[in-house]
């Protein structure tokens, strides 16, 4: 009852219905609801970023195009998490899910949620930095970092599920 149990509890709190891949017939379901939750967080972040764009356009701020680029990244990311990755859920039937793989999957899920929340927080900071061009520029960079981190996590998680 170590790290995994704690992570599991943490995820269950944020993603109701999550079983932590305990039942083979529910593997796909666990995968789906985790992705759904992460996609929802990204969708909220994107909406918040669109509010930032509106304010930026009103203030004629120079970061508008950069913020718009981030918005496009979030749209692509949300769709990748919610839909496209569903393609590999068929692999759950084939892979022999061992303890070790499940542990890694749970770790990835926890990290995924955490990083999605970090994206959301970065957007909030960006919204708050609107009045100061320097900190706004930094906020855009920070958001970009978090988005990249999330993309890398998705790649890693996919590798675990595909059994590489």
């Amino acid at each position: 009852m170590g790290k995994e149990t704690k992570l599991l509890e943490k995820i269950e709190l944020i993603v109701p219905g999550y079983h932590g891949y305990k039942k083979k017939e529910l593997l796909r379901e666990d995968d789906r609801i985790v992705r759904g939750k992460v996609a929802d967080i990204i969708a909220l972040a994107r909406k918040d970023l669109e509010r930032a764009m509106q304010r930026c356009a009103m203030l004629n701020c120079a970061q508008l195009v950069a913020i718009d680029t981030m918005r496009k990244k979030l749209i692509a990311l949300e769709s990748r998490i919610r839909h496209a990755e569903a393609g590999y859920s068929g692999y759950f039937d084939r892979i022999s899910v061992r303890e070790k793989e499940i542990e890694r999957l749970i770790e990835y899920d926890a990290k995924l949620i955490e990083t999605a929340q970090a994206v959301e927080a970065a957007v909030k900071r960006l919204n708050g930095a609107m009045a100061d061009p320097n900190s706004l520029g930094m906020a855009v960079f920070e958001l970009d970092d978090k988005v990249r981190e999330l993309e890398e996590l998705l790649d890693g998680r996919k590798r675990v599920i595909m059994g590489d």
Binding site: E50, A57, L64, V65, D68, H83
Partner: protein, 332 residues
């Protein structure tokens, strides 16, 4: 036989589809595929909504309609509309006027999807009585164009040609809000081209070259410039246009010795229609920075060393221009 309500094989560009039979039986099978929503409407009003899945229609999952039809178990009337939640692409194009009333044409692509199917059906489908994809698409395109026209007209022609990235993003933000009102999400907008009349392109060239919009705008036509400089009518547009930068820059750059107007030389390509009296070889170009004749097609000026930017068609273009002011070609 069980009634099956399903949108079979929707086409690439299909946004909505109306189930042709308006008489629905209880117990009917409703099949909603991924990226779809099925909505029950009556008299243009939205009642019950179904997401992806296979649903058996019962009084429980159609509570609003059940109430409306008075609780009987006999077949009832309703319009079932399927809405696609996929992303669509649309092309647009139109004409408007800039802040200074310069006529501009524009065209490009936009991407959108339904974000709030109920609002979309209320505002567009029910509200406008548009029950097939073609009508809906037409409506959305017209709505987009109207917004584009309105928002673009708030900008100056220099902004449009020089800061197009910024302008298009700002316009996009405004259009996003317009689209949200219809339950649509405008994912992206790309302006592929902007263009204006010859006369405005010439003005634009000199506004961008000199940074002095006011002075350029005071001259009605290029011909007038030539006339004011004491040239004859025949001393053509090109000559007049070439003199202008010096004329306009003088107060701003007193240090620079007044450049003699390089003793003739042809206007840059595109203004080749006319030659000043006693001009040099007909195909010679003039450096817009120092006014000296440069070899045709030169990439930099041998006299002042300034880089000469050109459009894909070889016209000399001002620094920072996104489009050639002579032919409208995109620069990059």
């Amino acid at each position: 036989m069980v009634q099956v309500i399903e949108w079979t094989n929707p086409g690439e560009d299909e946004i909505i589809w109306r189930y042709p039979n308006e008489v629905i039986k209880w117990g009917a099978q409703l099949i909603v595929h991924e990226y779809e929503v099925a909505i029950f409407m009556r008299d243009g009003k939205v009642y019950d909504v179904f997401g992806p899945g296979r649903h058996t229609l019962t009084t429980q999952n159609l509570p609003l309609l059940y109430k409306l039809v008075g609780g009987s178990n006999s077949p009832f009337k309703a319009t079932v509309i399927f809405v696609s939640m996929k992303q669509f692409q649309g092309r647009y194009g139109g004409e408007t006027q800039t802040r200074e009333l310069a006529p501009v044409k524009y065209y490009g692509v936009y991407w959108f999807k339904v974000s709030d199917p109920v609002l979309f059906l209320t505002e567009v489908v029910g509200g406008q009585s548009l029950y097939d994809t073609q009508d809906v698409t037409k409506f959305i395109r017209a709505y987009f164009n109207e917004g584009m026209m309105k928002h673009l007209s708030a900008y100056s022609i220099v902004d449009l040609f020089q800061n197009l990235d910024m302008v298009s993003t700002q316009v996009k933000v405004k259009l996003m809000e317009d689209f949200r009102r219809l339950g649509l999400e405008l994912v992206d907008v790309k302006i592929e081209g902007v263009n204006t009349t010859d006369e405005w392109r010439q003005r634009l060239f000199w506004i961008m070259q000199t940074g002095n919009a006011q002075a350029v705008m005071q001259m009605d036509t290029a011909k007038q410039v030539a006339a004011e400089l004491g040239k004859s009518e025949g001393a053509a547009i090109g000559a007049g246009m070439m003199i202008m930068p010096q004329l306009l820059q003088q107060p701003a750059q007193p240090a620079q010795p007044t450049q003699p107007y390089a003793g003739g030389g042809a206007p840059p390509a595109g203004y080749q229609g006319a030659q000043p009296a006693g001009a040099a070889q007909p195909n010679q170009e003039i450096c817009p920075y120092c006014g000296k004749p440069i070899p045709p097609g030169a990439r930099f000026c041998p006299y002042c060393g300034h880089e000469i930017k050109r459009c894909p068609n070889g016209h000399i273009v001002p620094e920072g221009a996104k489009f050639c002011p002579v032919c409208g070609a995109k620069i990059e």
